[in-house]
Amino acid sequence: MAEQDVAESNAFQGAITSADDLQAIQHCQNGDREAFRHLVHKYQHQVAAIMWKFSRDPVIHEEMIQDVFVEAFTSLPNYRPQAPFFHWLSRIAVRVGYRLWREQKQERKYPQVSLEDWDHIAEGADDSDRLASREAADILHRLLGQLPPRDRLVLTLRFVEERSVKETADLTGWSQTLVKVQTLRARSKLRKLFDKAQLKGEL
């Protein structure tokens, strides 16, 4: 696991900011707003892929992508080229997504797992299910939505996006120890969720 973490983290850090991006960033930092267009155009699909894990509502999803770029533009004066630009952008994206989950939790607006979903989850455990990708992703989203935002975030990054402890720590701004502890707690809560469903006969 440790070797895998190192390998993944090298791949993560390996991405560098291209000369084009650096030039656009410098122009933005010097007050040329239009140079930011190049960065939005180039990275919007990658940011969209990250934000799709946070909301599966197309309207909210698009708004969040916009929020990420607007926040990036505001923070651009603080950007230092030591960090790859997309890595820096991903941290903002995770922050925006996590904020949405916290707001939704406060407003008690989180997705419900239906009986049918639990059926699919149980079938999936036996590898006998033929769920479409989108449906499986929807169920995964609703399932993790039952957990508190911190647990949901750590499980999403670690096991859905398959990121290493180091990457997760970089993206969340948490220490690696906190990521490990939070992962254990989140797994325990998920296990309790399954146990509860099993007791109710849903799973």
Binding site: R33, V40, Q44, A49, W52, I65, I121, L131, A136, L143
Partner: protein, 85 residues
């Protein structure tokens, strides 16, 4: 039942799920432009905010001094009126 196995199974089945295609460039640029205009308006208001803050602070200090001054000044008057009575 292993919770990770269930999670990984769902993840594997969801692997081909992709985010809907988006093009937010125009909207982001419009928001950035609006933000800059708002920022400029705010920066115009900033000196006025400082002026208001200084005026308020000066008014509080002046009020405080007035109360002290009034108390010092009122005492001889009271003595004078008491003497007349």
């Amino acid at each position: 039942m292993n919770e990770l196995r269930i999670l990984q199974n769902l993840r594997d089945r969801a692997r081909n799920d992709e985010a809907p295609p988006v093009d937010v460039t125009a909207r982001v640029m419009a928001r950035v432009r609006a933000q800059e205009v708002n920022g400029r308006e705010l920066s115009i208001l900033r000196p006025l905010e400082w002026l208001t803050a200084f005026s308020s602070a000066a008014a509080v200090a002046a009020g405080f001094l007035m109360v002290i001054g009034f108390q010092e000044w009122a005492d001889p008057l009271i003595v004078f009126f008491l003497d007349i009575q």
